[in-house]
Symmetry: C2
Subunit: 235 residues, 2 copies
Amino acid sequence: MLDEKVKEPIMKTLVVVSHPKIETSNTQQFLKESLVGLDEVSWYHLDAQKDFDSTVERERIMSANRIVFQFPLYWYSAPASLKRWLDEVWTKQVVYDENGGLLRGKTLGLVVSFSQPERDYQLGGREQFSLSELLTPYRALAAKTGLSLLAPLTISQFAYMSEAAQQALLVRYQQYLTLDHPSRFNERAQWFINQLRTYRDDTTGDLVADQLQDQQDNLERFQQTLAELKRGEAE
Amino acid sequence: MLDEKVKEPIMKTLVVVSHPKIETSNTQQFLKESLVGLDEVSWYHLDAQKDFDSTVERERIMSANRIVFQFPLYWYSAPASLKRWLDEVWTKQVVYDENGGLLRGKTLGLVVSFSQPERDYQLGGREQFSLSELLTPYRALAAKTGLSLLAPLTISQFAYMSEAAQQALLVRYQQYLTLDHPSRFNERAQWFINQLRTYRDDTTGDLVADQLQDQQDNLERFQQTLAELKRGEAE
């Protein structure tokens, strides 16, 4: 059963936020509030920093196993403050060692918001270029430093989101910051079960959690059988 | 003959330089010195600016017919100062009007320097990504604002360049800033002829210029004949 498996070390996540007008950004305020209770996630707003102390910055980076660049898309990349931090802090001393990278083994996430519909970012769309194309410099940075890159979490037109869509975003965002593989169904299902168990004062929550756990276990067994069938080990 | 054709309006070029340590950059010092005598080219170093006055910046941009972003590649894009200028100055008021762009009809050039061999920037090369891929955000910016994008002028490993290679770079750079189509052979040939005519105190220069001009005229006629042949208008 999933909840009996050996606990992996807790994910420590550094959210590096680049936004010059953060106090007027509903998206960023919403994301910040979504972090309440996530003790292992730290929020770091670059535009509020005047200068960077390289020792402090190095420790900040090294203490996380996941680094997330979070920003609105300005002229098809992050605002200047993220670039300034990268230019000044991500020096050879920080990102390389003799074995080719102090960051190797960590993951890099991108949380990117924009005011257009997501379909605008494609061949023939209004913006003509896909986000994957536009974000190539981050892909190259991850490849160079040995960071393993997560698929971006994109937030399109937050201003027009229904409350339900905002709730879904909150869940996706928390999962993105804390799960080993935020796009894997199993991990996301287990996350829901854990969430429900956390709110024990609500008995319904517990019942729903049990039911979800059963379903998840069944699903696991079903997947195992399928895998065995494929290997020809069962009939 | 080429030198009898109607003179087009002189190219006015704004070189926008982004480099946080320009005084220690031999590349940038060399490029700056290459501009001596080019009255219609202005050099604008962003990192020296504290704040931007949007009216002044707007006039600066609008008075040029060519804008050139000149920078070393830091983490696969321009240093932070270019991004800051774009974020703060290239607002809707500057880059759009009712007809979709005050910049329409102007050209955008990119002068990009880096310390690796150019072959590193390709599939399977040490950097894995081509410069065309990495520079996609500028392509998207040009498309959005109606700027017509020139192929980048790349400067690879300036520190190791021979004097002859530096001379060739100077010529390429001056052509890049001043010619309508810096990659067209005809325009580049005419540029050489004009250069030689400028140094009239040297009689040899004049003779060489005459000879080059004759060759260029012959070439033009030959090309015309070819074109007519293709159209089936001559036999």
